[in-house]
């Protein structure tokens, strides 16, 4: 086993561990910290995929912005200890069965699938990505920025304190 494979297994184990902690921990704050661990490990996976820009975006947006937003949400709703209510709802065995079944189907399909790999072309760099975003992908890029603007205004209006 080569070094990169060992690093991948380590990162994957950290991501799965963080994800499992996220869905099982009782304290919602700990759950959010476990999610940060999982998202950070995914940034490491991007580095292994030679997508450095994605790794930076992952750390900045997912770990930096979204996780902070969720932590603020948890603190603003102060339901941290869950007031002794159970973490899971009544249908959790069904949810577990559905998730495990989907995982089994996906795993069997993925292990059996044969991929025709492209002959070793050079991975795209950050400069190519930037040119693509303002060239062939300019219209989706603008649509994404409009979406972000609409989401920001909408979030502000929905979350605003209603004044009588």
């Amino acid at each position: 086993m080569s070094l990169t494979q060992a690093v991948f297994i380590l990162l994957g184990a950290m991501a799965v561990l963080g994800a499992l902690g996220m869905v099982t921990l009782r304290n919602l704050f700990h759950s959010a910290l476990a999610m940060i661990l999982a998202l950070f490990s995914i940034a490491g996976v991007y580095v292994l995929l030679e997508a450095e820009f994605l790794a930076v975006v992952q750390v900045l947006v997912c770990v930096g912005a979204i996780a902070m937003l969720i932590l603020f949400g948890i603190m603003l709703t102060r339901d941290i200890v869950g007031r002794a209510t159970p973490v899971r709802n009544r249908q959790w065995p069904l949810a577990l069965a559905v998730s495990a079944g989907l995982l089994a189907v996906l795993a069997i399909g993925l292990v059996r699938a044969v991929w025709t790999q492209a002959a070793g072309a050079a991975p795209a760099g950050v400069a190519d990505l930037g040119l693509a975003l303002v060239g062939p992908y300019a219209l989706p890029f603008e649509v994404a920025s409009v979406l972000l603007l609409v989401a920001m205004v909408g979030a502000l209006i929905i979350a605003r304190e209603a004044r009588e």
């Binding site: 994957g12 996220m22 759950s31 999982a38």
Partner: protein, 102 residues
Amino acid sequence: MIPLTWYLVLSAVLFCIGLYGVLARRNAIAILMGAELMLNSANINLAAFERYLAAGSLAGQVFVIFNVAVAAAEAAVGLALILAIYRSRDTVSVEEVDLLKG
């Protein structure tokens, strides 16, 4: 070299854990975190497919960037909705939010 299947299996495992979180948790914020994890596992797939099956085509990485933008918008609007529900109903448990139930 890491086989492509490893990335796909890791992504499938993370997706299913996120799905379980969405289906089984009571707290609305925990459900939002599960959805976040599912989006991120899809992103691993996109980046891995680009790297292994279409290296240099950039389509996968561009998709991941748009996906991250959508995830950020979803988290902002979702948390705003949860805050608004918490203000009016004093709870973030999805089982107690049943205004539309006849």
